[in-house]
């Protein structure tokens, strides 16, 4: 499912793909945007008004495939990099997939690039037939990749040339030894210690602070306070809303005494 993996399913794609007849007529944009988010630059990008969203800016984009001539200006304007242009009329055997690309070094025209599908699986090396710079401000490059016709609806990325080699994860034969869980990094207070004092009957953040020093260090509780509140909430079965917060006093960050001395007119 898209919501679990980020990989659109056939059913998702069926909602946004143009018809086979339209694909056969020439290049056309496909917007693989399936979620109502507040975003509309694609609408502004299209000079032919072929992309519209329904209702407010949270609506899903809808492409009018008859108005769209596959110019591809929208590709580099989608903040989600979710727009592709497919040209099935490139040649008998090959279609061109135009896709957004934001990696370096850029492939050059005529080079082969490793095509990837929506799950990042390699589909083979195919020719880059055009590279269009997004310009100094936009910076999203559009790559034209000539792929076999049957892969036109599969290829959606190319492998970045500098991507690291895949290191294999080892099977769970763990080399770890038990170690502590830290709650307060500044004062070195562990989760065990917090649980111990809670079990001893301390029940507010301020009490725990006084007895353990958790939250008294240089970050003044920015990292640990929430975690202690969660422990209190869990132990006493009370909602976070009811966990009594600590008292905040100035200065809210550590200040050297010398700074006060230097502050002349105090």
């Amino acid at each position: 499912m898209l919501i679990n993996t980020g990989i659109p399913t056939k059913e998702d794609l069926a909602k946004v793909d143009p018809s086979a007849e339209r694909l056969a007529q020439g290049p056309v944009a496909i917007v693989e945007c399936f979620q109502e988010i507040p975003c509309n630059p694609c609408v502004d990008a299209c000079k032919r008004n072929a992309i519209n969203i329904e209702g407010d800016i949270n609506g899903l984009p809808i492409v009018d495939f008859e108005k769209c001539n596959g110019c591809g200006v929208c590709i580099a304007h989608c903040p989600g990099l979710a727009i592709f242009v497919i040209d099935k009329t490139y040649s008998e055997s090959h279609a061109v997939v135009r896709l957004p690309y934001e990696f370096v070094p850029l492939p050059e025209k005529g080079q082969l690039a490793c095509a990837l599908n929506r799950a990042g699986e390699e589909l083979g090396n195919f020719e880059v037939v055009r590279v269009i710079s997004g310009g100094a401000k936009n910076k999203t490059t559009t790559i034209w990749l000539a792929v076999p016709q049957d892969l036109a609806m599969e290829v959606r990325s190319i492998k970045a040339p500098n991507s690291a080699p895949n290191i294999q994860n080892s099977a769970p034969g763990l080399q770890s030894s038990p170690t502590d869980t830290l709650i307060c990094r500044c004062e070195d207070i562990t989760l065990d210690e917090i649980r111990r004092v809670i079990a001893d009957g301390y029940r507010t953040i301020d009490e725990i602070k006084r007895v353990t020093r958790a939250g008294m260090g240089p970050c003044q509780g920015r990292t640990c306070r929430q975690l202690i509140a969660q422990e209190l909430s869990r132990h006493f079965g009370i909602p976070m809303e009811e966990v009594l917060m600590s008292t905040f006093r100035p200065p809210v960050k550590p200040v050297k005494l010398g700074s006060f001395v230097k502050g002349g007119d105090l």
Binding site: L2, I3, N4, T5, G6, E32, C33, Q35, I37, P38, C39, N40, D56, I57, N58, P79, G80, L81, E102, L116, N117, R118, A119, G120, K137, R156, A160, S163, A164, N166, I167, N169, S170, P172, Q175, S176, S177, T179, D180, T181, L182, R185, L191, R222, T223, Q226, L227, M240, V243, M245, F248, R249, P250, P251, V252, K253, V255, K262, G263, D265
Partner: protein, 365 residues
């Protein structure tokens, strides 16, 4: 002592927009920014922003930071004080700040707190090993300093930050072994997830980190599956070799100043922590103090910018500026916020905002 009409604490997207809005109406503004250059976390956002044109959608975060800053610097009504951290707001309204190891006094008529948020930490054995970073830290290292954090990363969290940072790691030539997410579904925008999946970076929902291990620094992590009740499933452990673990488990509002200044606060889960109770003009229960951005609930930078404008108009208007134009400008900003929050992805934010509204009309917690 510095006398100023409006003091803005924090020069991120919310603070800069607040400054511009308040100065547009005629108020004089001072921005205290703890960093050397304002812009907040926009400086490391290399991706294009969502939203609509009004929130600079389609432009990259870094570029947005640059032109917000340009507007601020070119406005004679706005002064920016970099390397300055506000350390306290006192009962008599006096504000203390530290600048270059020297304490300064500021006497503002109104204050807009736009301090943003901090990254959450996660509990698991070995969670403090060097090589375990907040996702924002990895962005700062990569996109500000141009230094990679390591060679192979385990990303914990599939919200927008986890997904975006995984993509940015790939752009920097760093491999992400996996993005794991405790929840059964992806929390961030699906287009971000699709973007990394097609690079071969697996997004694995229903997984958590059980422990990190290594001698002096991260050498790997054990991940395991979670059942529907978020309990670890025994026997599902996997060993992931990595030298970097990136925690993208959410942000929490940085509200120390609000607490300390006596603003009434409430824990609102949907807004990611304790937040000040505010009215629709973003005024807190301390009439002198307004808030904008993540400090009043963790949300997207696009809404932080709109909130900044709204707070700026409100604070300036409360001092008598733009009495004729402010109401329509405020209404415009509120409508923009409503639109940004109208979709299903903003359900939580809407619920959180409604909770705050209810508490305010009831007159407190």
């Amino acid at each position: 002592m510095i006398n100023v009409e409006i003091l803005i604490v924090g020069g991120g997207p919310a603070g800069l927009c607040a400054a511009n809005a308040a100065a547009d109406l005629g108020a004089s503004v001072l921005i205290c920014e703890r960093d050397e250059i304002p812009g907040g976390q926009l400086v490391k956002q290399t991706h294009k922003f969502f939203g609509s044109r009004k929130q600079y959608a389609g432009d990259r975060g870094i570029a947005i930071g640059d032109f917000l800053l340009d507007e601020v610097i070119n406005d004679p009504k706005i002064e920016v004080m970099p390397d300055t951290t506000v350390i306290g707001i006192y009962e008599d309204g006096l504000v203390l700040a530290e600048r270059s190891e020297e304490i300064i006094k500021i006497n503002p008529r109104k204050i807009i707190i736009a301090t943003g948020a901090a990254e959450k930490f996660l509990t698991f054995p070995g969670n403090d090993l060097p090589g375990i970073y907040g996702a924002g830290a990895v962005q700062t290292l990569m996109n500000v300093a141009g230094v990679i954090p390591g060679e192979r990363v385990l990303m914990v969290g599939a919200g927008n930050i986890g997904l975006i940072v995984s993509y940015q790691l790939a752009q920097a030539g760093v491999e992400t072994a996996a993005v794991i997410e405790g929840a059964p579904t992806i929390g961030g925008y699906l287009v971000h997830a699709s973007k990394i999946q097609r690079l071969g970076i697996p997004v694995r929902t229903g997984y958590t980190i059980k422990e990190a291990y290594g001698d002096g620094k991260v050498e790997g992590a054990v991940i395991c599956r979670l059942d529907a009740a978020w309990n670890m499933i025994e026997g599902s452990e996997e060993d992931i070799k990595c030298d970097t673990i990136c925690l993208a488990v959410g942000l929490t509002p940085l509200t120390e100043l609000c607490w300390q200044a006596g603003c009434e606060m409430a824990f609102i889960r949907e807004l990611s922590g304790h937040v000040p109770l505010i009215d629709k003009y973003l005024q807190t229960t301390n009439p002198k103090i307004y808030v904008a951005g993540d400090v009043s609930g963790v949300e997207e930078a696009s809404s932080a910018m709109v909130e900044g404008r709204l707070a700026g108009y409100s604070a300036a208007c409360s001092l008598g500026y733009g009495l004729d134009t402010a109401p329509s400008l405020q209404a415009g900003a509120m409508a923009e916020l409503d639109e940004l929050r109208a979709g299903p992805m903003s359900d939580r934010i809407r619920q959180g905002v409604e909770k705050v509204e209810k508490m305010v009309t009831k007159g407190g917690v």
